[in-house]
């Protein structure tokens, strides 16, 4: 029942042949595929991490760009606003100036007209006064001398500002 013989060598041969063949057909291929999978998972994870970082960078970049665009837009709006304000002010100033000019011109014209009217009135008054004087005193005076006398009288009135025609 218990005897040790050459079967031991045969069994050892069995064992070593089995070990050799299993290493070749089972252990090595399985280890290889396990390593490969581990590598693949590692590299996939690394890649994912890298992609995430890249995405974050791009996101930050775009956010910055968006911010810049906002700022620029704000600047443009501000500039346009200030320009518009300036233009409006200019227009108002121009209009005011024009209005002032026009007013001054019209005043001058009125003044002129007033002067002319006063002169005319003065002449007319002189004529009427001469005629009235003629009628009133019925004196035979030389008309030219008479005219002169009245003109003097009126001038004196002007000097004393009694007529208030100027």
């Amino acid at each position: 029942m218990v005897n040790i013989n050459t079967t031991m060598l045969w069994q050892l041969l069995n064992f070593f042949v089995l070990m050799f063949l299993l290493k070749r057909y089972l252990y090595s291929p399985v280890k290889e595929i396990l390593d490969k999978r581990a590598d693949q998972i590692n590299s996939d994870l690394d890649e994912a991490e890298e992609t995430r970082k890249e995405a974050e960078e791009i996101k930050a970049e775009y956010e910055q760009k968006l911010k810049n665009a906002h700022n620029e837009a704000q600047k443009i709006v501000d500039k346009a606003e200030s320009r518009a304000n300036k233009k409006a002010k200019d227009i108002i100033n121009n209009a005011e100036e024009k209005a002032d000019n026009l007013k001054a011109k019209k005043l001058e014209e009125i003044e002129q007209a007033k002067k002319e009217a006063a002169a005319e009135l003065r002449d007319d008054i002189a004529d009427y006064t001469v005629q009235a004087a003629n009628k009133l005193i019925q004196e035979q005076l030389d008309e030219n001398k008479h005219q002169q006398m009245i003109m003097n009288f009126i001038d004196q009135l002007d000097k004393e500002k009694l007529g208030e025609l100027q």
């Binding site: 045969w10 069994q11 069995n14 064992f15 693949q40």
Partner: protein, 219 residues
């Protein structure tokens, strides 16, 4: 009744190279294992399918037994230890088939494997500490423990081999006795018990003890 290996015929004439039934079953086991391994590892892919999962499960579960005991050297020892697990496991379980003798029920098989483990253990110990350093380890912690340590070391392959051999042969003897004494109904669960449960447990123990011996020699 004559338990144990039966010599079926002699290769090269009378009395030379006896071929026993255990040896033939051993060859059959090897062929079954190789066919199984080849079947499980055809078309390995990164995304495993059913049979590839089985192959990876077997390798990984054995690897996980080795790695904690021999840190960093799991893959170096895997072919040796995994072959012990698989060969003894199949050798034990094949006895469930009625009329088939376990190759592990032959002391030649178990002692042979235990001696290989013994040699590997000594080699690993010397590789770790140097030849002289390893031998000096037997004289520690005090010199007069040297003979006891040496006897203890030499007892390892004997206990290692006889444990497996005794369990398998003992199971076989009990089953044979009950087959003779009782009707066919009772031995079937008992046969399954000794064949499957004890067989699996003993294969696990043999492999774990081999790992433990190597681990002890290296520490």
């Amino acid at each position: 009744m004559n338990p144990g290996p039966q010599i079926l015929f002699y290769l090269f004439g009378k009395d030379y190279l006896p071929i026993t039934d255990t040896l033939i079953v051993g060859w059959v086991s090897v062929i079954i294992i190789l066919i199984g391994a080849k079947y499980l590892t055809t078309s390995l892919t990164l995304r495993p399918n059913g049979k590839q999962n089985v192959a990876e499960f077997i390798i990984e579960i054995i690897y996980k037994q080795i790695e904690p005991m021999l840190p960093g050297e799991g893959w170096r020892f895997l072919p040796f230890i995994a072959t012990i697990f698989i060969y003894i496991g199949v050798g034990n379980l094949i006895g469930v088939v009625p009329g088939v003798t376990n190759p592990t029920g032959d002391l030649n098989t178990t002692l042979g494997l235990a001696l290989v483990v013994f040699v590997v253990t000594q080699y690993e110990g010397m590789r770790e500490y140097g030849v002289w350093g390893y031998i000096k380890g037997f004289a520690e912690p005090v010199i007069f423990l040297l003979p006891i340590n040496i006897i203890g070391e030499l007892a390892k392959p004997i206990s290692h081999s006889f444990r497996l051999f005794g369990n398998i042969v003992g199971g076989g003897i009990i089953i044979t006795l009950i087959y003779q004494a009782a009707p066919a109904l009772i031995p079937v669960p008992l046969h399954a018990w000794f064949g499957i449960f004890v067989g699996a447990i003993q294969a696990l123990i043999f492999g774990m003890v081999a790992i433990a011996y190597i681990s002890v020699a290296k520490s």
